[in-house]
Subunit: 143 residues, 2 copies
DNA sequence: TTATCTGATATCAATATAGTATCAGTTTAT
DNA sequence: ATAAACTGATACTATATTGATATCAGATAA
């Protein structure tokens, strides 16, 4: 079971790179090369990130993409939901005889707790927090 | 993002039903009808459950399937791993420049914590515990 | 000795994921 | 002005995963 698809993984990596490049536009090409993300795939992905409001673009030569909101406000949970849909254990696990009434289904309740835990964790993690950790382990490169 | 596939869902429901039917063999047909699981799909699934050691079968008329181990020992985690593979966030999330060295990658470390949480939760839940809850909410049917 | 079952296997359909290609239009630099 | 470096938009293909069917042989019970 894979929790993050490639697309989400790519999105996170691209956003991290964009978050790290303060004020400069990065081209899809640059991100693709640096992060080993298939170019055309990334192109599409970046457009989605624009629609989601995470980045803005500038057309033409020397154009590219720039992050457009505080990295601390971009939560991994948002990205997962955008690219993979809401985290849900299963549409509705126990039907018919087993589950008399959906409303007070205890099993459902129990299983849904897991969803909450997962969601909380992914909500906690932001592009900002990831970047922070990255810098910490890499050490500040001599500016 | 769907945590449980239909197959895992079906497996859990089938096992619950088998666990509830003490000592009697249940036919695939009976389970299929009761649980709304496509018959042939269930057939294959039951064979897998045999290979996994969770159930045994009896051929011929009046044959069927019977649970073969303590429901408390059948963990949802086992089932997920059998049918969907191990829970893993992504093969390896941050590569190349971003992640200098895999060994001490903090991001990886952080993200893997989530895997652990999920795994722990699913390890806690067994067919036995689910059945227990089921009986509790349904009330013991007049024996 | 037939109806009711499982064993084993093959095949197919639907969906989701991953990746590629193309062309039009915008901007910068020369 | 015009070529080079870019994005916007969209269509397409490939691959993998998941979900579902179909078939036939063989076992068992009534
Ligand atoms: S899980 Fe859907 S009614 Fe209980
Ligand atoms: S996640 Fe793979 S090296 Fe950091």
């Amino acid at each position: 079971m894979k929790v993050l698809t490639k697309k989400t993984d790519y999105a996170i990596r691209a956003l991290l790179m964009l978050a790290a490049s303060n004020g400069r536009y990065l081209s899809a090409k640059a991100i693709s090369d640096e992060q080993d993300i298939p170019y055309q795939f990334l192109r599409g992905l970046l457009q989605e990130l624009i629609r989601l409001g995470h980045v803005v673009s500038k057309e033409g030569a020397r154009g590219g993409f720039m992050i457009s909101r505080d990295p601390d406000e971009i939560r991994v949970k948002q990205l997962i939901e955008a690219f993979q849909g809401k985290v849900q254990v299963s549409e509705c696990m126990f039907r018919k005889q087993i589950c008399a009434n959906r409303a007070k289904c205890v099993l459902r309740h129990e299983i849904m707790r897991i969803e909450e835990v997962v969601n909380n964790e992914f909500e906690r993690i932001t592009i900002g927090s990831l970047l922070h950790n990255l810098k910490r382990i890499q050490g500040q490169p001599p500016a």
